[in-house]
């Protein structure tokens, strides 16, 4: 393979698409006229280009636009874009972290509150209450006995 063959084989697509500078195109035309090997390669590249042109003719569903619009409507309805505030992507993790901290603090204070209530309703205070109740019941019994006398 001489240098001209190499030049042709390195630039087959460009020669086919007429993209080389005029000097390069002239050099390739001259070489191709006398080199059947390079000429057949160029012809193969032209087959590849024809295939690509065929691929470009592909058609798609004519109702695709309607399908896309329906999907957009459904998406907007589900996400409620009109009323919901939109947080930028960077703020989302911050919002999530703030919510988690809020939940932990709520749990902490709720637990603290619960333990103080338990402390109030247990121990000696409860015994005092019980004994007071017992005495008041005794007093009521005395009254009842007095009634039947």
């Amino acid at each position: 393979m001489n240098t001209d063959c190499k030049f042709i084989r390195d630039n087959l697509f460009d020669i086919q698409d007429n993209l080389l500078p005029e000097a390069g195109m002239a050099r390739s035309r001259e070489h191709l006229a006398g080199c059947p090997g390079c000429a057949s390669m160029l012809s193969s590249i032209s087959s590849v280009n024809e295939l690509i042109e065929e691929e470009k003719k592909v058609s798609f569903n004519p109702f695709l636009g309607t399908r896309i619009l329906l999907k957009i409507d459904a998406h907007n309805a589900v996400n409620g874009h009109r009323g919901m505030p939109q947080f930028p992507r960077l703020l989302r993790p911050l919002m999530a972290a703030a919510l988690i901290i809020l939940a932990v603090l709520t749990g902490f204070f709720a637990g603290k509150q619960g333990s103080s209530i338990r402390r109030q309703t247990s121990g000696p205070d409860l015994n005092i209450m019980k004994s007071e109740l017992f005495i008041s019941e005794l007093n009521d019994e005395d009254k009842t006995i007095e009634l039947y006398k």
């Binding site: 084989r9 390195d10 087959l12 697509f13 460009d14 059947p36 090997g37 057949s40 390669m41 012809s43 193969s44 590249i45 087959s47 590849v48 295939l51 690509i52 065929e54 691929e55 470009k56 592909v58 798609f60 569903n61 695709l64 636009g65 399908r67 896309i68 619009l69 999907k71 957009i72 409507d73 998406h75 907007n76 874009h81 009109r82 939109q86 930028p88």
Partner: protein, 192 residues
């Protein structure tokens, strides 16, 4: 409607803006997705998700580039992700077939659009898809956008966020790689 008017309409959830967006860009989106996935069903499904992404991320659109460039970028990224998903699915299907001994039925790259074509043309089309699909990712993006979507090198450099010389180099290498892979399959070459 200009690009910024369109973006303004999308941000305002204006249905007319959505309609205009879809009418103007659906062909670009679905065809580009098809060139990467090689499957029209996938491309049509994908284009719906691409439009949702365009609408959801319209606020992040920088007006430094054309809207079509930004849409190309989203389309290419989504399509390449779909191709990767398809490849993973194909691997799992093959593994399943190895264990069950059944034929999965679907041949990769062969779609309804190929049916009714002469056998040789279908075969060549599959060879071309395989060769383009086998290119390194950046070469594939540059080649598809240039050869199929007919974008200029400058437009491709904007889509890919690369310099003009990098795009030229990518396309040149892509062409050489394709030549190597494809020429041996063509009869003109075999005659030599």
């Amino acid at each position: 409607m200009t690009d910024s008017e369109l973006i303004h309409g999308i941000l305002g959830r204006d249905r007319q803006a959505f309609q205009y967006l879809v009418d103007k860009y659906q062909k670009q989106v679905v065809k580009t997705a098809y060139y990467f996935t090689g499957n029209m069903e996938d491309a049509e499904d994908l284009s719906q998700d691409i439009f949702l992404e365009i609408i959801d991320s319209a606020a992040s659109f920088r007006h430094s580039a054309a809207l079509s460039t930004w849409i190309y970028r989203i389309t290419v990224n989504r399509s390449l992700n779909q191709v990767k998903r398809n490849k993973r699915r194909e691997i799992f299907q093959r593994m399943g077939q190895m264990f069950t001994g059944s034929d999965g039925g679907k041949v990769s790259g062969f779609t309804a659009t190929d049916q009714g074509m002469p056998h040789e043309q279908t075969e060549n089309r599959m060879l071309l898809r395989k060769a383009v699909g086998g290119l390194p990712e950046n070469q594939r993006i540059a080649f598809v956008l240039n050869k199929y979507e007919e974008l200029s090198y400058k437009e491709i450099s904007e889509v890919m966020n690369l310099s003009l010389s990098s795009v030229e180099s990518l396309i040149h290498r892509a062409r050489l790689n394709l030549q190597k892979q494809l020429l041996v399959h063509f009869p003109e070459y075999q005659k030599k």
